[in-house]
Each structure stands twice: as C-alpha cells, then as structure tokens.
Symmetry: T
C-alpha cells in the first residue's frame, strides 16, 4: 500500500516559523518521523511540499496509478483552493486532511476548509502526531 | 494515566441507528474495542454515556482528581451546549474531541462545534478508529 | 396501532401559563381529550411529558418495538435540540410535529424548527385540535 | 357554514407533476375527495385554482359576504406574494394554510411563507389529507 | 417577601473554575453572603443550583405560590435555553438576571441572552455583589 | 400635461380593508379627490387599478405617447416586482412613488422598494394627501 | 399654527455643494421660499440649521410649548443619530421627514433612516419643493 | 423536433427600451431572426411573449405533448418567480435559459436566477445571438 | 472617593418624556435621589448632563485627577459613539454603565452597546434605582 | 481573426474525472472538436491548459498583439481568482466565459464567478458544445 | 500652498492615552513635528483638534478659500460620521486620511472608514510619521 | 539596511493596463523611481515581480537573512492569499503594504486585505509615490 503525503505552502519553514503555534520540530525531522512510522506500519510513504497551488494540483494528478492514499496538509490553501479540492475529487483516491495546529483556535478565516467534506476524516491539533495518526488511520481504512 | 471517554446522546443506539452514517458496530462492541486498545497502550480507561446535558456536565465535574484526560464525543450537544463547554473549561483537564462520522459531510448545523477551539485536537470520520486514535494521541500528549 | 404523544417542557403548566397564547384548557383535560379521540379512532395512545431534553431522548429510544408512531410537541426544544432530532432519526419511527399555538405568529427564534424537515407533516395553531388532527393523520398514514 | 378552497399555480397538474413529491392523485380526484369530506362534515365547500397571482387576489376579494372560511394552498406564491397576503388581511376571513408536501423538506426558498403568521393554523405534509384535516379544523374553529 | 436564587450549570465549581474570570470565592461562601445580605434586608431567601436545564425548568414551576421573586444566573443556559425562558414566562413571577462576570467582555456567543428582554432588569460584572445588588433591587421592586 | 395614476393590488378595497392602517375613505372617494385636485391644478388625470402584476406592466407600456407623468402606488408589488420596475424604466416617463400609509412603520418586508431609486421622488404616510401632493410635485417637475 | 423647520449638517452650504445632487439654489434662497410658501398657507414658520447633533437635540427640546409641528431634514444624521430620534420621541410633536435629493438613488448607507418609522410621513427627491409639500402636508394634518 | 420560445415581461418593447442595455433591434425583428435560424437548423419553432406570470405558467402547461424543448427568457421573472420554476419542473421538458444582456453586469437583484439550476444550460450577453445559439444547443441536445 | 455621574442626550427631559418607558420621576428629582444616596454611602458625587457627544468626550477628559469613578448613562450615544468609548478608555478610570429602562426590551438598535465590554459592570432596568445600585457597586469596587 | 481558448486547472483530466458531471469525452478529443469547428467557422484557434493561476495570468498577458478574442474556462479559479480577472481587464481583449457543466446545479461556492461581469457573455452547461457555441458567438461579435 | 490638519476626538490626550497603542509622544510635540516638517517642505500648515463632530463639520466649511489641502485624522468619527464625510465632499478640497495606529489591527468596528473612498489616499500605522508622510504626499499631489 | 519590494500579478503591465486607474507610468519607470529614491535615502533596495502566488511565497522565504524590510504590493492576491500572509508571518520581517490606486474607491471585493492587520502600516492611493513614501517610512522604522 503506497501513501503520499502532500504539504502545502510555508510548511518547509516548520521549526523556524511561528514556533508558539507550530512547535520547534523542523520540516526535515517531521519527514523523518513520518517515514519511520510508515516503516513500523508497513506502509510505503513519499512526502512532497509545494508553495504553489498549481504544483499541488499537478502532483495530485500524478497520483493516479502511483498512490493508494493521500494524506494532505494544504496549509493556507485549505481555506482558499477549490482547484486542489477539484483535483482530489478528480483522482478519486481516498484522502485524510491533517493539520499540525488546531485550526479552530486561530483566526476566523482558518475555520473553514474546502477539504473536510470530501475527506475520509480529519485530524488536527496534535503537532507531528497528526501525521502519524493519519498513517495509522489510512492503514485501517484498507482493512 | 487515567482516561475517561464520555459519549453524548443517542450514542447508546450505535449499530441500530442510521447505519449508513454510523456503521453497524454496536455500542457495547465499541466499548470493548476502546478498552482493549487501552490495555494495549497501557492506559486505564473508563467509558460513560449520557443522554442528558446536565449529567454530562456533572460527570465532567467528577473528573477532577479522578481522570487525567477526557476524550469526548458529545454527539448533538457538540453543536449546542455551552454548558458542557464551560464544564470542560472549569475542570481544566486536557480534552480531545472525537466524532464517528465526518461531521462536515452532514447538515450545516453540524459544521459548528463549541468544543474544537478548546480541545487539544480533533479527530473525526474514522468510525470506531476515531476513539482508538484519540487514545494514542492522549498517550503521546503526556510524553 | 400504538401511538405515543410526547410533550416537552412547560406543557404541564397548560391552562395556567400565558393563557392568551395557549388557552385555558388544563394539561390533564388535554390528555383526556387525546385519549378520548384515540378511542374514537381505534388507536391505542399513551402520553408523556418531560421538562428535560435528555429524558425525551431516552423516552424516544424506548419507543423501539413499543410504538408505531410518534406525535411530538417538544415545546421550546423544537427550536434548540439537535439531540432530540437525532433520537427521532435514530429510532426511525414515523413522526408528526404539532404545536398548540401558531409558532409563526410569535418571536423570531420560534420560527425555526429542528423537526419540520424530518416529520411526516406538521400541524400548528389549532390548540388542542392540533393533537386530535395529528391522531387522525397518523391513522391515515398507515392505510 | 361556507368554505372556499383556493389552489395556486401548477396545482392543476397534480398527479402528472413531480409525482415523487406530490403523489399520483390527480387534481380532479383531489377535488372529489374534498367535496366528499365536506359533505361528511356538513360543510358547503367550493374549490378554485388559478395560475395568476392577480386572479387569486381578486377571488379573495369576492369572498366577502360569500364565504366564512378560506383554506389556501397558494403553491409557489406562498413564498413570494405579499399581494395575496394583503388580500387575506383585507377581507378579514379566517384562513388555514395547507400544503400537500412537507415544504420544510425541500429547497431553502420554500421554507419561508408569507402566510403562516396570519393563518389560524398550518397543516403540511399529509398529501390530500392536508385538505381534509383543514376542513375538520375549520369546522372546529366555529364551535 | 420570599426570594429564590437559581444558579445554573458549573456555578457549583465557583472558586475552583477559571478564577481569572470568576474570582476565588467558593460557591458555599457565595451562598453565605447572599443569605447574610438577605437577613440585613429582611428578605427570606433560598438558593438552588442545577446542572440540568430540565431541573431548572421544574424548579421554576415549583415557585408558583412559594416565592415572590426570582433572581437567576443561568450560566451557559443564558445563551441557549428557550425552555427556561418559557418557564419564567409561564410562572409570571418577577425576575432579575444576574451574572458574576461581565458577559460582554467574553466570547461572542455569550453576548446574547434569552432572558434580558423578559427580566425586570439585569446586573452583571460585579462578582458576588451582582447578587447582593439584585436582592436590594428586588426589595425596591415591591415598594 | 397628462397624468396617469396607477394603483396596485387590494387598493380597490380601500375603506373596507384594515382601516386602522389605511383609513375609512373608500376607493371611489379617493378617485374623486384626485380628479378634483387635478382640475384645481390644471392637470388632466386618469386613474387605474389592477390586482395583476402583468396588467400593470401592460398599462405602463400603453403610457408611451399617452401620458407625461406616472404616479404609482403599486401596493404589495412595491416590494416584489422587478417586472413593473423594468416597465417604468422601459417607457422612460417620469414617475413618483406614493403610499397611503407610512411603509416604514410596518413589517420589515415592506421597508424595501424596487421603485424608490428610479423615482423622481417619494411621498408616503399622508393618506389620500400623498396623491394630492404628488400631483402638485408632478406639476412643479415640468416647470 | 406654528411650524419649525430644522436642517442638519452641511445644508448651510446648499448651492455650493455637490450641485449635481443638491441643485444650485442657495440656502438663503431656500429659506426665502419656505417663508413665502408658509405665508401663502397661513402658517407661521421658523427655520434653523445646525452642524452639531447635540444642538439639534437641544433645539427639539425647546420646541415644547413653542411649535406645533416639526419639519426635519437632518442630513447625514438621518442615518446615524438615535439621539435626535429620541428627542423627537421625547417632545411628542408631529414630525415630517424631508430630503432634497432622493436618498434611495445614493450610497447604501443613506438608504436607512432612523426617522421614517416615527414620522407622520416622508417626502424626498423634489428639491426645494420637498419642503413646500411638507408645509402643505402639515397644514392638512391639523384639519 | 418542435421548440417553443417564451419571452417574459417588457420584451415586447425591445428596441424602444433602454437601448444602451438591450440594443436597437425591435421585438418583431428578433422574432424574424429566430424563425429564420430555426429553418436553417431544420427546427420548428414558435414564439410567445407575456407580461403576466400566470400566463407564462399556463403556457408552459400547454407545452405538454406539443413541444420538445423550451427556450425561455423570463425577463424580470427570472429573479422572482418560483411559480414559473415549478411549471418548468412540472412539465419536465428540457429547457435553456437565455438573456439578451449580461445580467451579471447589472443590479445585484438580477444576479440571482430561479432557473439556472434547473436548466440544461444558460446563455447570456450575446443580444439576439443568445437565442440563435440556444436553438443550436437545443438541436445538439437531441442528438 | 469622588464619583461623577454623566448623563447623555434627552435625559434632561426625564419625567416629561415617554413616561411609559422612563417613568414620571423628573430629572431634578433623579439628581436629588442620587445625591442623597451618595451621602448615605459616604461618597462625594457630582452629576452632569449633555446633549452633545463632543461635550461628553471633553467632560470625561476633565475627570483625570478629579474623579475616581464614572457612572455613565449615555442614552442614545450608548449605541453609536465610539468617540465616548475612546474617551473612557483614554482616561482609564473605572466605569459602570447604567440604564433606567431595560434596553433589551426595546428596538433592536438599542441592544448593542459600545460600552458594556469596557465597563466594570452593567445595571439596567431598575429606573432611578439603577443609579443607586451603581453607587453601591462603585463603593464596593474600591474595597 | 485569432482566438485563444484557455482552460484552467483539472481540465486536463477530462473524461477521467467525475464523469457523471463532466462527461466521458477526453481532453484531447475536446481539443480536436474545438479545432475542427474553428476551421468550419474560418477561425484560427489555439488551445492552452494550465493548473497554475500564475501561468494563466502570464498567458493572458502574452495575448496582447497575438489574439483577438479569449474564450476562457478557468475551472475552479472562476470562483477564486481576482488575479486572472485583473489580467483579463488589463489586456482589454474581448472575452467569453464558458463552462462544461451547469455551475448553478452544483455547490454554492461555484455559483459566484469573478468573470461573468467582465465577459461579453457566458455559456454554461452544454458540455463540449459550450466551447463550440462560444466560437460562433466570438465570430458574430466581430461582425 | 496652505494645508490644514484636522484631528478628531481624544487626540488631545495623545501621550497620556493607551500608550501601548498610540505611543508616548504628546499632542503638543506631535504638532511641533508637523509644523517643523511643513517648513522643511515649504508648506504653510495649521493644526486643529475638536472633540465635537459638529465643530469638525463647521471647520471644514471654513476651509473654502482658506486651505488647499486637508489632512484628516478623525479618530473615532472615522467609523461613524457621515456628516464629516459630507462636509469633505461639500467643500471639494483634496483630502488625505491618516491614522497614528494601524486601525486594521484593532476592533472590528474600527476596520470600516467613511473616508477612505473619498480620500486621495490613506496612510496608517506609522505613528507621528503618518502625518509627515501625508504632508509629503500632499506636496506631490500639486506637482 | 536592505529592502525588498515585491510586486504581485499584473503589475508588470503597469502603464499599459487600465490607465484611468493605474496611471501611464510604465513598470520599468516605476522601478527606476524606486531605485533612485532608495539612493537618496541611503537604502539598498531590490525589486521583484511575480504573477504566481507560490513564487511570491518562495521569494518571501528567501528574504530570511537577506533583507531587513519588505514593501509589498501583492495586487489581486491582497484580497485572496492566506498563503502569502502566512509567509510574511513566518519570516517575521517588518512589512509595509502599499497600493498604487486607492483600493477603497473600487469594487467591494478589493476592500478586504489579508495583510493590513499584520503590516507595520499601509499606504494607498498615491500612485508611484505610495512606494516612495513607504521607503521613507521603512527608514524611519529602524531609527
């Protein structure tokens, strides 16, 4: 079972950026943890990060035939991108929405998501663990 | 580490009720699974279910000194109960919000929660696994 | 065919309470009239009244296997209780919403109902006759 | 006691139109049932149907001195016609609002009525029985 | 002149709960102060606290013939309970709304009250003194 | 200078209808007064009344080449008819909006007009004098 | 019969200010016309203009016992001043709202008035004639 | 294949009315062009225009068995008529919505249509060509 | 301890103005009662009333160094004046908001206050007693 | 006359993506049909597709001097991109908005377009024919 | 070139008031800096401050013939005063809106300005420099 | 001190695009003016322009360690891009928002900015001078 993790804009700055919200773990350590947990769970996982909405759309298109599950944290695009939503719908691959921070504790414009209603489920607020729980949920999904 | 799971109104009918949304697993089997996973994770977990808002408020009060973590699925009260919200705030015990179904796929009045902004994090849409992932997240929270 | 009539908060004060809106008929006379009309229509009817939202939820659960039809006047909970709505959906028993007064003549917050869209039909504004017409409608429903 | 039933636009197509919503009973059979029940209840009832808002306004004017009670199903004009509302207010004849379908199960723009707050009461969702119950309610009204 | 003070959900935790908002005075000391001031003012006062909406409704019903004035702090139910509002209207006993904290300094959902427009008057923000001023206002009301 | 006065639905019932709002002057006396004042002001005035929106649209079309000024009281259509608005715009004849009652003292849905922004001016609340003042304003308009 | 005309802020600049909206007639000529028409109608009229909201409130207080009718064009305060509204209500003198321009053709924030619902009637859009028609309407009001 | 073109209120004034918006082509020339293009496309087309909402409803009813496709430009009723919407739904004949002008360039109240969501498709802004393109689209629809 | 009471527009008319809402006590008697109660409570109190928003702003500025507590009833400016709000914030003197009538029983535009969230507390609906209770609350505040 | 067709995100997946909405015609066949119809109509047409908003903006800039007409289906960017709107306005080339599906039958957030009010006209709901009709409309535009 | 700087309510307290928002520079030092920079830029500048809306309106009227440019910081009136807006429009003198603090970082009711859309431009958030930059912008405006 | 100026989509067309709004100065001349003024102010400034949101996000990331201040005119992305907002927050470099035109004179959807509340300050409406004033404000910021 092959899983893709797609991270959206500004996540590359993790650990440097607004650490009171996002924590001090760096992006590369986040990736290491995801890969490590994937091995524990016998999942084959690849991770990508893009700042551009169009790049995310195109990457999702490329998932057809290559991945069985999408774990997505689209960052700011969560609240604005119908194009990425349409891409998820178009490729018809099961999808979990994750967030590092609890988006409901933040500005009003972060309370709305274009992805929650098309996701299998949502996990937010657990820092890096949001991803690790999502991996586990993905594995269960296929049982 | 002692964990309480509090379930809100109508969850006792699980498995009999709107099975296209909530699945066919009965409430007692749900409880069994939660207890079993708790043992795997070395957690001591108790589970309660109430149909009355006031009973949930009172039970949360009783958690002071008795439990270290609350996992709550307040069902319909998620969208209407400021009293339960206040109880959570009053006892000041860390809390995870879980939902069996993906509430964002459902009626508009289920999209708003009085709990998301005061929870450590939220997990929804994974059926019984929502609880199991929450147990794991709770355990990580204390590390 | 067995019918349950469930009345919500404050209906026990009927005849004493805001008589310009609700009329002077007392609650016990209301019950008598409902029972009498039930007999005329060859229906077996029981009547309950609760002030607590949770008690109404639990009573609705108890209807499974015991009643064929629910006639509900949930009073103030009409406008606030998703929990009772969920209970009605959960037990999957046909349901008619009744009101003694015409709720559309009153405060704005009484114009919205969480029950109208899941009821077979709605009858409001006819005083005690709202119940009697509902009994008749219930009988027709089964033909 | 003389009763007028006024039906609004498109009701003439009953039985041919969107039968999943309105049922298969034709308009002329609906009229027969209303007349039959009126006789049972010792009421003298006449039935009219118009597609034009202005015709309904004029017919309501003509009720002065000719009818004691109006049962109205103004169809789509329920949600848009202040002119018909004004006519009802102007003639000052008691009025019941009926609907064949449960309008609260349908599009949002059908949830608002310009008539509910000026009606004696409202009955909706019982198919042809909505009219028959209204006849009975009208008879009770005069007692 | 007999006065009842009815406190809503979570007020029993006073002094333990969110002390930056509600202060450190415990609930039992609050009760002592109210009783003491009542004696000073020659009022006979009893105090009750409930977490359940239905219990508050029922207690208000019991006031008929037993109390001359209601001082109510319905806590979170202030913002959600039409049932308690209806109970107040039903028993037709004069009523003052009090709050310990200034609800207008807090979350938006606490700015709306279902009681302000049916109260004689409102007093909020003065801690325990909100109750003591209300006792005085009640005494003046009868002069 | 030729003036047309167009009255909308229900105005024919003037004097019989809701006399606390519209007064006791009958429609035919209203017409007499308008004609009399027109003579005083050396204006040639004709008056029409329709219950149907379409008839008003058509009559406005007929004004081209026949009338120099329109005084309109479109009654309930004031708040709903874009079709009549379009007719006024189409014939490009100066227009005054009049109302017998002060529409701002009434229901919210009467506060909005589809005509105010395309009228030369508006006169409301003066009973029959609203028309007489409009005649005078029309005469001044041409000077 | 004594009439006061109260003009609000910026009306003193009439004839110099935004002449495409307000016309080229100067404020002093406006006053002359009002006085002249008052004589024609056997009315005793005085005119005042203030830029300050508080001055208008105080002047309205002074009307008690000195004037029988208020004609007010409160300019920008039409849309913002509850204080002037309260003054009008407090002195309980009949009042007509006038506007030189048609406020409904202008910015959205000019469409709402705090005075329309407490006025005898409203006249807007006729330039200086708005005042002259109001004088006539005031005279009729007392007949 | 038989097509009906139904035009709503004020379209009869085409060429005389607001020519900066609707162009100078007269209504009769519009009809000629539609008939000519229908012949080119081997379609049998009839054209009707009504100012009354009720007449349009009735004409749509008459289409049953007589026409295979409706091309409708309901003018102002586009934005207000649920009755015409219901008629289209009732007769269940495929339908294209056309507009001469681009309604999205105009007043806000013209941006909403009661027909767009029940049409096969929409064509607006191309003047008379909107109709000619609709004829072509209708022909393709049946292939 | 020195206290200033600042009254806003129209309060000078107390006792003459809308007595069904504000009661028949005159403004000068109101002042007498406030001074008398101040003496009872060993407070030094001065009272001012202004119709102009700017005058209130300036008076609040003058409080610096002269008064320890502000009791304000800003009348209509309660709902519109950010300038007075800013003055209160600027001088940083504790402040209680009082109202004679219960503003929540009145028009919608009186339900919002620019002062409630910056006040120590609010007292409304008790007539002259609102001020007397505020004096007592102010005295307690300093203990 | 040179025409550019610009397609937005996810249109490259046509025929694979949500075929119940978009049909089974593949993107390359869509392009073939557009080119073929262009030849029939003596138009020189080029087609581009981009997933990135920025690429569409840049391509529109490149149209200056190279194309006479833009036919745009900006997919999800229709509802979110002010940047593309600005590009269209900046290059000042006539533009038609097309959609394959009828966007008004879909989610609420697809009902708003940032392009409709700056387009010559809009064509939606006819599948591939939307483009073919647009080519024809473009050709007519230049006559 | 003569410039007037008009400051609104509470600005006289600068340096004493909410210094975390407005800084510690006193109002008289602010004035000194403005005059000094004016000299550097060869501008003749006068500065005024008023707490009363009406005084600002009158001062703006006085600018006619006396000043070539208005720099305005209307403080709280920015968000509430249509009267000052009208005065600016009436005198037709170019105008820059300045703010010491960044109003978009503050309460919601400070985000709306009645002046931004009629200003040449807006400068906010730079403390005293907001004024100095405005002087420079004014000088450029006349080149 | 090193400053970066980042311009958003369509600004490259300056001087060619909607010149009534943006003026006739070309983009390269704008850049020359910014560089020239930077030299006058002893600032080291670099200028970039991107049409893609993702490119702007990435460029802002690159500012870490390379620039001390960001002057941003994000064009259309001002109103839609949370991703760029997050990038500004992430790099934690002081930032000024500039606009060539006065965005408050334009369409409603341009009145909202995702940047104003996180900027040091905002300057809009002064054409190229908006940038030059921002340079000066940036220099002052560091003093």
């Amino acid at each position: 079972m092959k899983i893709i993790v797609i991270n959206g804009p500004n996540l590359n700055l993790l650990g440097q950026r607004e650490t009171s919200i996002y924590g001090t773990l760096t992006y590369s350590l986040l990736c290491d943890k995801i890969i490590e947990e994937s091995k524990n769970l016998n999942l084959s996982t690849e991770i990508f990060q893009y700042n551009s909405e169009g790049d995310i759309v195109s990457k999702i298109h490329d998932c057809i035939g290559n991945f069985d599950f999408i774990i997505g944290n689209f960052g700011a695009y969560t609240h604005t991108s119908i194009a990425i939503r349409d891409a998820i719908l178009a490729v018809n691959i099961p999808f979990i929405e994750v967030h590092i921070s609890n988006i409901f504790k933040r500005e009003d414009f972060r309370h709305n998501s274009f992805f929650s209603d098309i996701a299998v489920g949502c996990i937010s607020g657990f820092g890096v663990n949001s991803y690790l729980l999502a991996l586990r949920a993905a594995r269960e999904y296929f049982k």
